[in-house]
């Protein structure tokens, strides 16, 4: 089984969860190598944004990735198990003192599709500025009036004098796979899914 794992936050929580569920894992301190073999299994550590691409093209059989990315990209992979970690929420956030009454609200986000769709449903005029990181800087520097971003603890917001205006939806990590993988190794996959989705332990 080839497993693509989103590097960082998700990776850490996933490892712990896999240990609990008695699934194969990678060493706790994996160093800088990006692929790790563990028995018959291979773990591939990539950016969150790329996990579904490995699964979609068959370069990985399964993947562990944040639901925010799947929601933004709707890539059509099988989103088989909702995992009990990587929990956060997608929210509109901005300065405590809100900028009022402007022609067009400027919104910065790493999730432009989610942002557009959210404001469309509210029939609000917005200018979307897509960013790749550190979105919380946008309101501070005047690049945008507010942001659409994931909020976990709220610490980053607080540190930047921002507050959450509105929650859009909540998020958790997901275990994904493809029809191809399901065709090739149905039994092993079913076993993994069984373990991952056991409600008892979670």
């Amino acid at each position: 089984m080839k497993v693509a794992v989103a590097k960082g936050r998700i990776e850490k929580a996933a490892r712990q969860f896999f240990v609990e569920k008695d699934l194969p894992v990678w060493p706790e301190k994996r160093g800088r190598e990006l692929t790790v073999k563990a028995g018959d299994h291979e773990f591939i550590f990539v950016k969150g944004d790329d996990v579904y691409k490995y699964v979609m093209h068959g370069a990985a059989d399964v993947g562990i990735v944040g639901g925010d990315i799947l929601r933004e990209k709707t890539p059509g992979v099988l989103e088989v198990v909702d995992l009990p970690f990587g929990r956060c929420r997608m929210a509109v956030c901005g300065p405590k003192v809100r900028r009022n009454g402007t022609k067009k609200l400027k919104v910065a986000s790493k999730y432009p599709n989610i942002a557009i769709s959210h404001f469309a449903s509210k029939r609000q005029n917005v200018e979307i500025i897509a960013l790749n990181g550190s979105v919380e800087l946008a309101p501070l520097t005047g690049l945008a009036d507010c942001i659409v971003d994931i909020v976990e603890t709220g610490a980053t917001l607080a540190a930047n004098d921002l507050e959450e205006y509105e929650t859009i939806f909540s998020i958790n990590a997901k275990f994904i796979t493809s029809e191809t993988a399901l065709a090739e190794q149905p039994d092993e996959l079913k076993e993994w899914i069984r373990k991952l989705s056991q409600e008892g332990d979670a």
Partner: protein, 307 residues
Amino acid sequence: MIWSNSKGSIPEGWYELQSGDVIRPKRWMLSFLEKAEASGYAVIDPPLLEYYSHYQNLALFDESAYYRLFGNDGELLVMRPDYTLQIARKLADGHEPMRVAYAGAVYRRTVKHSGQPHERQQLGLEWVDGEEKDSHLIESFLDMTEGVLPKDRLTLKIGSAAVISLIAKETGIQERTFRKILALRNLESLRELAETYRYPLIAKLPFLIGNAALEELRAEAPDSLKDAIDEVDDAVQHLRSIGLEVSYDFGQTGDFDYYSGLTVTGSVEGKRVLSGGRYDSLYGHFGHSRRAFGMSLDLEQLDEVMK
């Protein structure tokens, strides 16, 4: 926003094929069409461009996947997105049973920089209003594609859109929504549905896969699903009896929302090369309802495993 239009460039997702890559699929298509015609199939080549208005409310693909353009009078046209639709448009008025063969390319825009082609070569058969059993139609398809598709390396999976449909009807879940969730095989959402509608089978459905699946399903299914399940059982028995490798997949929804009965997918070394199923509801969209079963081969995928 900037694209490459230097002298030699080609739009993304399009390719310039050479020698064998050109000739091989042409050989497969011709061999298939000649065999099909000799066996009494009507060989049909529908036009490359169609009125988009025929398809716009079918919602089979995301709107952005259609290659749309305008006709001489400003009417919206679409490059053939699918053969089954075209054949349904053509035959929906008819009353005689028909057996149809086609071969050619379908066109769908794919996501930018996703490495997926916009043109796909296919060949396929459609049976309209015939009396034959689905499993015999599958067998016929394999006969007509002999020399193209290697039967001995093929694994078939049989599912049932009828089971899905019946569950939707019994529970009152909107069928289109149910299919969408099932297509993602998302356990959490399906568990929620199972609980809300007190229908535990729903939560198991996505992974009722493999040889034991039939018995698992029988054990849990209400009587109302019996016929649909038996139909799958019969089909699998027949296909095994003629030496094919077949198993169950009750979680498969088929590529299209219009499937209404048995569904079939086939892979060679994990690549899905074949798909099809029964779709008795589609014809109603174009005229009056007719029973129909269709199967097609993806020559792109097949080429990858045959090389």
